[in-house]
Symmetry: C2
Subunit: 274 residues, 2 copies
Amino acid sequence: MCELLGMSANVPTDICFSFAGLSSRGGETGPHVDGWGIVFYEQSGVREFKDYMPSCRSALSKFLSEYPIKSHIVISHIRQANVGAVGLENTHPFQRELWGQAWVYAHNGQVPSATELESTRFLPIGSTDSERIFCWLMDSLAARFDAPPEPQVWAEYLSTLCESINTQGVFNLLISNGKALFCFCSTKLCWVTRRAPFGLAHLSDKDLSIDFAKVTTDHDVVTMIATQPLTDNETWNSLAPGECRLFVEGESVWGKCTKAVLHASTGSQYAEKS
Amino acid sequence: MCELLGMSANVPTDICFSFAGLSSRGGETGPHVDGWGIVFYEQSGVREFKDYMPSCRSALSKFLSEYPIKSHIVISHIRQANVGAVGLENTHPFQRELWGQAWVYAHNGQVPSATELESTRFLPIGSTDSERIFCWLMDSLAARFDAPPEPQVWAEYLSTLCESINTQGVFNLLISNGKALFCFCSTKLCWVTRRAPFGLAHLSDKDLSIDFAKVTTDHDVVTMIATQPLTDNETWNSLAPGECRLFVEGESVWGKCTKAVLHASTGSQYAEKS
């Protein structure tokens, strides 16, 4: 399995603190040693950093933990390889251009039947089930809409695609086009929104604290999304299995939960949630 | 204008030495202060680094000058903005996936009529003429070939597209799909191939030398391509205006020169070259 980290903010915000926590899970406090990646949106452009080294030992991840890149949307992933060799071509997040927008995606889980998904316009470069699903999602979006619709419109459509993939395996997902950040919870995903009055946060994975009151203004709204809570003194909200949410400028603007989601891989049936 | 740097090698090779020279031109020995980018191919995957800071003052470019990433193809670019604001979305190299391959492109020059180029499948994210041309090239390749042809086949086709663009302005180009590196010279581009016996190289832009004999084997073949020679004690070959070349594993495997190239922007007619 892998771990996901996402951020949506209404002001350009750096992610050094949270990334330091996530990086520790890549070989130190967690077993995700098969590479890591992070993508920062800055206006309509993106910056992508990837390494196949464990994040806890990567010189590049150390650089990023200390180099503040201010962004309004971030997607990051640390990998424990299941399908596909260790290598850059199999390292999340994956990226494709659609409608003149940079789409970025990272996945946690396994969907064995992804090999049967066919796409024509977007093709995988590596050999993971994750990238194959991404290509299929992008193909489906391109086929459905000629031009970029409003975020809630593509999110609604994407949620139906996610529900269908989710019946085939484990599919925790973060995806963005730089305007909005969409997440889908298959088994495990949680989020916290920070806003005034800001307080002290302490990482779960290393003894590191930050006083957000000192680095924010009253106007700032920042949501963090992660596989597991990154801090041990804040209340993180869990997404229910089958639940998806859309974040714009730090706020949860839309969400829905499928009535029932059957995980073929485990056979377990999750409870209905309104 | 901007500056280009490319590398093709038969063994994974780092580019720290040459990149240190190029970086100096981004604000120190050259006026290209409007951002920079570099893409490393590692197997079929790529690593991309971009910054809108001048490369001579960028913490990230300093990190890369000292952090050896071993790659068989590299494309880099430092920018002096003409068309499009300073920002990541307008920072070269640009990247798109076609046929399950990561295509990477950087351009030096200006092609004012690029605004008239239309593409449908690949659309620009930023506002440069360079990215618009790239999208048009990718659209054209996708329309011409259903599957990835051999490098010399796409290079031959690409050369005809480049010739047509080149009549509209200045179009020095580096492009790669990770298998081969194609370059087209509109006005200025040169290259040097390093092979055994290796010797000492000294940068033109800073007092830095390297003894390649100490960091290579007799088998290594490494070609560097640049807008202007990066070293002052090696013989760089100049490409003629209208000349293109294809490099695979460090070797020049194919090339051609258009008989005559008229630069509409300058009105100058270049001499015929066999």
